[in-house]
Subunit: 340 residues, 2 copies
């Protein structure tokens, strides 16, 4: 391959000057610059980014780890990340962790090996490798958390007000007359799950209906939603509304209802979370909470760039807006007859 040396030689200048033409062209006289650019052209030269990185200690890369890339919610967030990163001249190193701690650690360790300038993690566990860095550098550590929010970590993050969203959905359901509501939650150790649940419970308490709130476990996947819903449908007192902490689980719930001969929204209302693209196309169209997925992705990048540039040395917690999207899967409580 051709190196800067070849270019310099062909253009009759020193390596320093040739390099300057590419990284700081304003420092080089017009004629010289043209001569060098011509040599670059003719030789088909491309800068070796590895050598440049070694010298500058900048890689122009950021790592993004995600619990499950085939989850449509995350893939939208990633898209936002990718877009913002690209715009800022950064490439994205993608890590699918499958929710495995081991893999999270592996990717995080790439930061230590200087494979990237910073890391955005979309899960909720802070890899120990990062904890060490954080301890050392505090708010200057190039680490950002997305979607989840754990204030105690001291890591900048972009997320929505999950507790607020959980509260609002329950309120909507109560307003429609529902009393027996079930929630299908996500992994119990994630703050996001806890926050939404806390919001939902608060709403139930405010209505004096805390004892009526039923909780089922899920893991955000369609199948887990289907299973959880099946369990709910076989209860003596079937809930009249089910609030799922992901659209995929809500879609699983709709499938379960269909197979159990339960109509939605006739017999049961279903509300999802995220507003993935599919949500409006299922039958019935799914009521949900819209998260600004791409925006969350973009924001995490912005936060990271602020740290990398030294503009920001303290953690920043960005709370982005959510929106309740009412669609046909959510309706008034059934059998609102005086007898009940």
């Amino acid at each position: 391959m051709t190196t800067i040396r070849d270019v310099a030689q062909a253009a009759g200048v020193s390596r320093a000057t040739a390099a300057r033409v590419l990284s700081a062209p304003e420092m080089v006289a017009e004629v010289t610059r043209q001569r060098v650019l011509k040599a670059v052209q003719e030789l088909g030269y491309s800068r070796n980014s590895v050598a440049a990185s070694l010298r500058t200690t900048r890689t122009g890369r950021i790592i993004v780890t995600v619990p499950d890339i085939s989850n449509p919610f995350f893939s939208r967030v990633i898209r936002g990340v990718e877009e913002a990163a690209q715009k800022a001249g950064y490439a994205v190193l993608l890590g699918d962790t499958r929710n495995e701690r081991e893999r999270e650690e592996q990717y995080a360790d790439m930061l230590n090996r200087r494979e990237a300038d910073g890391i955005i993690f979309l899960g909720h566990r802070l890899p120990t490798v990062l904890a060490t860095i954080l301890e050392r550098d505090g708010g200057r550590a190039p680490i950002v958390n997305g979607c989840e929010f754990t204030p105690s970590l001291g890591v900048s993050s972009a997320h929505i007000d999950n507790a607020g969203a959980g509260y609002d959905v329950m309120q909507s359901l109560y307003r429609l007359g529902h009393r027996d509501i079930a929630v299908i939650i996500g992994p119990a150790d994630s703050p996001l799950t806890r926050d939404r649940l806390a919001g939902a419970q608060k709403a139930a308490e405010d209505q004096g209906l805390a004892a009526h709130l039923v909780i089922e476990n899920g893991d955000f996947s369609i199948e887990s939603g289907r299973r959880a819903a099946m369990a709910l449908f076989s209860r003596a007192k079937r809930p009249t509304a089910i609030f799922c902490f992901s659209d995929e689980m809500a879609i699983g719930t709709l499938a379960a209802a269909r197979s159990a001969g339960i109509s939605c929204p006739g017999d049961v209302s279903v509300v999802g979370f995220d507003d993935i693209q599919m949500a409006r196309y299922v039958d019935p169209p799914l009521a949900t909470v819209r998260q600004p997925m791409a925006e969350i992705g973009r924001k995490t990048v912005e936060l990271l760039l602020d740290i990398l540039s030294g503009r920001q040395t303290q953690p920043v917690y960005a709370t982005l807006p959510y929106e309740i999207i009412a669609r046909q899967s959510m309706g008034p409580v059934p059998g609102q007859s005086p007898i009940s």
Copy 2:
């Protein structure tokens, strides 16, 4: 940060020996090795991958470009890629090209800058940057194509027999008595679309029904499927079966049917393509063609590793198996009464 120099000093050995402990431990005597490992531990040393890459000319990274990462089909393929790459000690640099040539070129150029050891592109356009490399290195160029297959490119690839799948779906529909079939295709310039269409047309010809085959354009998205289906439903002679080149378009088609008061499979059969996870959960469950998504991803990595290791110097075209999945959205032709 600590360098190999610090480690060497702490362990009382030369840099060479310290480095060997990490990259070729069998060359170092047991006692020495332990001493060095202890120093590594105590200093919390991590090898600087940038420096290592410069010397070895290996980055341990592969680039993967994808037309749309939020498409569930691609995100599954990527998952396969990521898994296989990780297992082989490679990291994945993800590029979402949004079907824009400009972005495809940008990512491809990273290969020239030595940001990665190889590239897997999942679209159908060969970036000019890569064409240049291919011209120079032929089958030794670390370039692999996935999902799509264009034999003229001379690039190794992993894909299914799209023409065969197109043919088989049509056959299934003809066997169910359908005569008026419509296909909603993908981008017309993609070989994948052309192959599936060619297969479908061949089947129609074999039945002497080529003139009955209606073609609508789509771009694989839900919305494009919905729109195309709307157009089909407003035709004088409405097709009794619609074969969509992606599950997402099929889901759009189901939504269109619902809103037009057309029942599936009662009035119209719908077949998708890919067998994304959602397919079995929609109403009615979607008949489709299952592609081994993760396997395609893994295979592309395998092909690339074969090139990188020098085991393979000629393009290899890997055709993976597909499977027709019959589900309720596909049924016998309606109104098969003697009057018709």
